[in-house]
Structure formats: structure tokens, C-alpha cells
Amino acid sequence: MQKLYRRLANRMTFISLVVALAPLYALSAGIYFYFSGIHQEQLKNELRTLAHNRVSAIGLFLDERTSVLEVLAQTSSKEALTKPGALEKVFGLLNRRSWSFLDLGVIDSKGRHLAYVGPYPLEDRNYSEAPWFRHTMLRGTYISDVFLGFRGTPHFVVAVKHSAGSDSWILRATIDSDVFTRLVRSAQLGQRGDSYIVNSAGKYQTPPRFGGDILADCQLCMQSVPRGINVVERVTPDGKHLLTAFAWLSKKDWLLVIDQDPREALGPLILARELELAVLVLASLLIAASIIFLARRMVRRLEEQDRQRSALDAQLAHSGRLVSLGRMAAGVAHEINNPLAAIGELAGLLDDLIDEDFRRNHPHGALFKENLTKIQQHVDRVRSVTHRLLGFARRMEPRLDSVEINQVLTEAFSFLEREAKLKGVEVDLALSQDLPSLQTDRAQLQQVFLNLLNNALDAVEGGGRITLASRREDGEVVVSVADNGPGIPKEVQDSVFDPFFTTKAPGEGTGLGLSISHSIMQKLGGSITFESEPGKGATFFVHIPIS
């Protein structure tokens, strides 16, 4: 492929690719972002609902524990509960229904531990300095943050104050932190999700699964977390992307945090995106391959057509030059023919007038005679040149007419009809009546038919017979000119179409008739063939294609 066409092919490929792929990519991106937006919104909503449910469940859990302790404290007396075995009985009853209390104690208004049931040796401890004690004495009901206390392990307590009359005392229970942690973690989502509680001071109240222990500092800026339930996308200080729901408990200033790994949550979306990308890449490859293939094929065909057209143009220009050359030659030949004829006749007249007497007796008589003969010979030479020029001019300019073959044949015959009759030659016409009109050069066909008829007429003697026939034969019209003359000897059959080949007596034929006819028929897309049996005559066939 030439540079110009390669550039054209590249440009076509580029434009087609842009036109084909840009809308595809835009549509794909549009669809992806639209659905991923919907999907993410849905995820956030689900997370919000989950946070709402879990925060309610945790609130309910704490409310129930508080309520049962309140009922117990209000309906019992200090004395009843501090009786030996009484508290154990109550504790057993409570935990039978898996109330998840770790221990239970009764503390008087001075902070002394009056009775205790639980795994730790906490009897006789004095809590008058403990913050939870003072809070409970002040408010009546208290849920503590997680703290270490006397036992030295993280826990939190629920305490209620009995304040009937002047004697007030406190019923206090520690919540089983395993149970509470399990409850909080039940909000956890997926393999990489997390859920935990942080207090208002930013300390973990339940242990997170990743990146921290209970009571350690959480990396959240607690002031920036608004009240209520919020779902945000955030990046942790160690670079993890998280989708997080924050939900404040209503009764306690604890924050439930539910972290979700968006990659996990958006798994189906990511899979869909990867599938879409794969389909897109595949489609792009297919489209690109088709476009490149088609563009190259089109341009190659275009190049081929251009090449053919320029070849045709060159040929037409060449033919055009030949035609104008031919016209000029014909003009020159016409102009020469008249004076040439005059020269020939004038010299001929002088030649006629020089008799034997003049030739012998005049001092230059022989020279006169000789030169006049030479002048006529040269006139003959020029004549053959001008006649050839006229024929050449005619052949250079084929003209297509709608031609009725039979009519042309009849005309050619009428041209020689009188001569044939004078010679005593019978001419038969066997013309087929169902011939189509042909698009061909009428005058050149006439020339061919005349040449063949002339030859036939020359070939037969008086009493001879010539048959002119036409017929239609698969895709062509065949005209035959048959004579019953001596035929063409075997040894010259190969050269009858050669230029200047003749069997006529010297001066009778130019030897060009058949050769010119042959080249005319080739130019018209047809051909001339012959059959001849020496002694029985010859038949020439002119094949003219119908299309």
C-alpha cells in the first residue's frame, strides 16, 4: 500500500474507532456509575437499618438489666437481701434465665459491701470513693463505662439505689462482658467487618476485632460524630477504606460503630464491573479488528480502482492522441489526394502522348518516357501511403452504432452485386431473421464484409457461387462468406492474416485486406476464422459478440 493510501486507511480507522467506541465507553461508564451509585446507596441504607436495629437491641439489653435490678431493689429490703443465702438465691434465679450477670452485690449508703455473690473476693470492700457509687447515690440508676476496679479486669456495672425512707442502699450487678461483646459483635458484617462500642472519651468499651484492645484509645474524633445514626465512608489512619455506621445509644453516651469493608460489601458490584470491563475489552478488540480489516480492505480496493482508472485514463489519453493524429492524417491525405491525382493524370497523359517515333527521334525521347513512367510510379507510392493513412484514421476512431447486421451485409453485397452479375457469379443470401441489433462500428464492419466479398469474388470464375449467411450462435452473431473457388492451399493457410500476404497477381491486391479485417474484428471484440478445403472453396466466418 502506498503512503497516501496508508494514511487514508489510518484516518478511516481512527475516525471509525472513535465513532464506534466512544458511545460504547460512554454508555458503559454511564450504566456502571448509575448502578454503582444505586448499589452503594442501598448498602448504606442497609447499614443504617442494621445500626438502628443493633443500637435498639443493645439499648433494650441494658434497659432490661436495669429494670430487673430496679424491681428487685424496690421490692426487697436490705435486711432480706443480706440474710445469709438470700442473695445467692436471687442471683441463681436471675441467671437461670441467662440474664448474664457476673456478680451481684448489696452496698449500703456508706459504700460498704454488705453482701456479695460472684467469683471475686469483694466482700467488705468500701466503694465510697468509686465514681459509680457516687453517681448512683446521686442519680438512683447508673450504668458505668468499662473500668478495671478492684478486680483488675475490664468490666462495667449496672447499679440502682433503694431509697425508701431514710435508709438507702445500692444493688449492683456486673454484666458479663463476653455476653455483651457477643451482642455487640452480632452486628458485624462479612469476613472483614467489625462492630464495637466506644465511650464519649474515645475508649473501646468492647474489644474491636482489628487494631485495638478494650479500654485502649480509639482513633476517632468523638466530637465530630453527630448524634443519631450516620453512615459514612472513611479512611482509617492506617489507610483502610471503610464504610462505617455510627449510632449513639439513647440511654448511655456510648457509640456503636459498625465497620464494613466496602470491597467485601461491593463484591458483586466489583465482579459486575470486572465482567463489564472484560466484555468491553473483548468488544473493543472485535470492533477494532473489524474496523482495521474493513478499512484496509476498502482502501486496498480503492487503490486498485484508482490504479485501474489511471491506467484507463492513460489509455484513453493515448487513444485520444491517436484519434487526433488519425484525423490530421486523414485531412492531410484528403488534401494530397486531389493534386496527386492531377499529377498522375497529367504525367499519364504525357506518357500516353509520347509515341515510339518521338521516343526514338527526339534527343531526350527515351529520358522523357522513362521519367514519366517514374513519376507515375511515385504517384502510386504516395497513393498507397494516403490510402493507408485514411484506413488508419478510420480504425483509430471506432464509433458505436446500433447495427442491423443483415442490413450491413446487404449493403456490402449491393456494392459488388453488379460486378458479380457481370462476371456471371451467383450470389445466395441466407440471412437469419432473428438477429439482435448490435452495438458496434458499422463502417468498420462494412469494410470487413466488403473485403471478404471482394476476395470471394476474385476467387471464383464465371459460373461460380458465393453464399452469404448470418446466424445467431451462443452469445455472438456469425456471418459467413463462402465461395466455391480453388480454396486456400494448405501450406499458406497459416499466413492468410499476415500483412502483405497475397495470392493475387502482382498489382491486383495489396495483401492488406484480410490483415486489416482481422485487426478490425479484434478491436471490435470479435474474430475472423476460416475453413478451406483446396479445390472446393473457402468459407470465412466473422464472429461479432452480442454484448
Binding site: 489526394n337 491525382a341 449493403e411 452479375k421
Partner: protein, 134 residues
Amino acid sequence: MDSFNVLVVDDEKDFLQALVARLGLRKLNAVGVENGLAALEHLERAPVDVVVLDLKMPGMDGLEVLGEIKRRRPGVEVVILTGHGSVESGMEGVSRGAFAYLVKPVKLDELMEKIVKAYEWKRMNQELPPNDSD
């Protein structure tokens, strides 16, 4: 061979005179005129058997003269002899009734042959009256 009357029509004066003289030397009663009108006038006045006719002439064109001759004297045969030859004009001439068609310059023997054949044709047609009617 009998002597018969030939009329040569050609606007090329030198050619005309030389040809008429040469035909005369060959025992023909040849007369030359330089245009079609003169030819038709001569045809009215004198007997003519064969006309040798040029095609391209000032005034009346050769084909017109041919048509006029054939109209007035159908028996007179015409041999066309022209310098502007082509197959088409030859066909045209023959289809309008010319006996033969030759392109200048022509050898006198060839021309004589055609003239004699034309004369023989004329005589043959006169011997067969029904054919002379066209």
C-alpha cells in the same frame, strides 16, 4: 470495344483535362465539365452512357448530382471518383445508384475497367427492358 460517351465531372481543372484527354486516347467519347450544374446541362444536350463523378465540388455536391442524374436519366451509370474517400460515402453513393466507387488517385486501368463494366451493365439492362424500368 464500342466507343461510348463518358462525361467526367470534376472541379480540379488540370485533372479533368488530363483525364478527358487520356480517355479520348482510349477511344472513348469523353467530355469534361467542372461542376454539377454543367453536368446536368450536358446531360440534356448530348447522349451520355457513363458519368465519372467527383463528390466534393463547389455548388452542387456530388451526391446531389448523382441523385439528379438517376432521376432524369436512370439508364446512365455513374462511377464515383473522389479524393475524400471513406467507406460510408462509398456506401452512400452505391445505395443511391452509383455503379462503382473509387478513391483518387486511381490507376487509369482500374478506372477504365470500372467505366467499361458500367457501360456493359447499362447495355445489359437495356437488353432486358423490364429491369430498366426502375
